[in-house]
Subunit: 246 residues, 2 copies
């Protein structure tokens, strides 16, 4: 059983892939009623999750903004990365906890689905032992991009692998080679490596690159025709499957 410290409720709200109309009715209702919203953002940017709810917040709604302490200056495999990002999540959780302790409720805004590779999970992990939490699922970037590209992700007996683009090239290629269907997430600066891994695994011909799917400035192209070496964070690669019945 949880030892509840307060009556405040933390709602972790999935907002979908970017198009505001792709948020759920439940997310919209929750956001319109919120007295306090919290969200992550890159320093100096408006914040992707925050942009999706533009126009929905009450005038009196208070905003807790958590600026990521860095984005790409420290490499993922540097031990300082884990230490600093852990401290950042600790501090962000403490700011939310303070409001919950006062009996207030907080809606944490999340792009996509909160439990599908989202930063929100790190606050959930820290707060759920002691506070009431509810999670509102959302449309993933994967589903949004697949719909926009008009390319089904997985059929019948396909095993689908969802692969972070941060893996090493050979590991990426091995997963791609063995998958019936695959989606590569977190493309960003990994784009050139992902393209090589698709080439190495014989999947480049089927691979589709989707940048900012469902958002303005959306781009959809065969990965083989994409020259750039880096992509925006909100991009992914679809390697559609096709097994089983037709």
């Amino acid at each position: 059983m949880k030892k509840l410290l307060s009556s405040g409720l933390l709602s972790i709200v999935g907002l979908g892939p970017g198009d505001p109309e792709l948020m759920t009715l439940k997310a919209e209702r929750t956001i319109r009623a919120a007295r306090i919203v919290a969200f992550f953002a890159k320093a100096g940017r408006s914040g992707h999750a925050r942009r999706i709810v533009e126009g929905l917040l009450r005038p009196s709604c208070e905003e807790l903004r958590f600026d990521y302490p860095f984005t790409t200056e420290i490499a993922l495999d540097d031990p300082r990365y884990h230490e600093r990002i852990g401290a950042f999540y600790d501090e962000s959780a403490a700011r939310v906890a303070q409001r919950l302790d006062g009996g207030e409720s907080v809606a944490l805004l999340c792009e996509g689905d909160p439990f599908f590779y989202g930063s929100a999970m790190y606050l959930f992990d820290r707060l759920t032992p002691n506070y009431r939490t509810t999670v509102i699922p959302g449309v993933t970037g994967m589903s949004g991009c697949s719909a926009r590209a008009q390319v089904p992700i997985a059929h019948g007996d396909d095993v689908l692998r969802v692969i972070p683009g941060t893996l090493e090239e050979d590991a990426l290629a091995a997963h791609l080679r063995e998958s019936d269907a695959a989606v590569v997430m977190k493309v960003g600066r990994q784009l050139a490596k992902i393209r090589r891994a698709c080439e190495q695994s014989g999947t480049l011909e089927r691979a589709l690159y989707v940048e900012r799917g469902t958002q303005s400035q959306e781009e959809i192209s065969p990965l083989g025709t994409v020259d750039a070496n880096a992509a925006p964070y909100f991009s992914l690669v679809l390697v559609p499957g096709r097994r089983g019945r037709r």
Copy 2:
């Protein structure tokens, strides 16, 4: 380029995992405006997708219902299965095409996300070469169940595998053993086999069984405590991951 046969538009509408509030704003708007809706259903049942939109259809909305010709009487590996189900999708597509040919638009109702293991893909495949189509993505059953169970699916550098429960026991166990995180779909009559595969792969302790997630009569239990040998179609098994930062 498509050779468009008509001005009718086929909208393939993801409705989410079951709770009507988990449909998107775009899905709701499309359903309320529809003059013709189409949906799949098991013979004698009201149809899961149809139930989700109860109360939203215009009084004059016409309903095209496609009854699956069989559910479990013919085994999946029987060649007659593929033949008959293929003929069924051909006929269903022809009924939709007839309306599109008349310049009418049709909204095809789909539970979950249409391009994530959905039957809608078989109509999409048949109709998209010749008709205007749009796809509205939805919240998957996987995201809905993970939110309700309050168990994040995949973190950081996890590779997630989405595995149809219809695979053979040894193939299932191998996927489960090699996965960072896994979701087993299409549980139904495969439940006992899936439990054995989890045991064989050492994942039974982490495995959670979610039945009718987000719907009434929802059930969430550790898979190891579930005695039944069969489950409803709308059930899945979550084997959560946990790699990378915390």
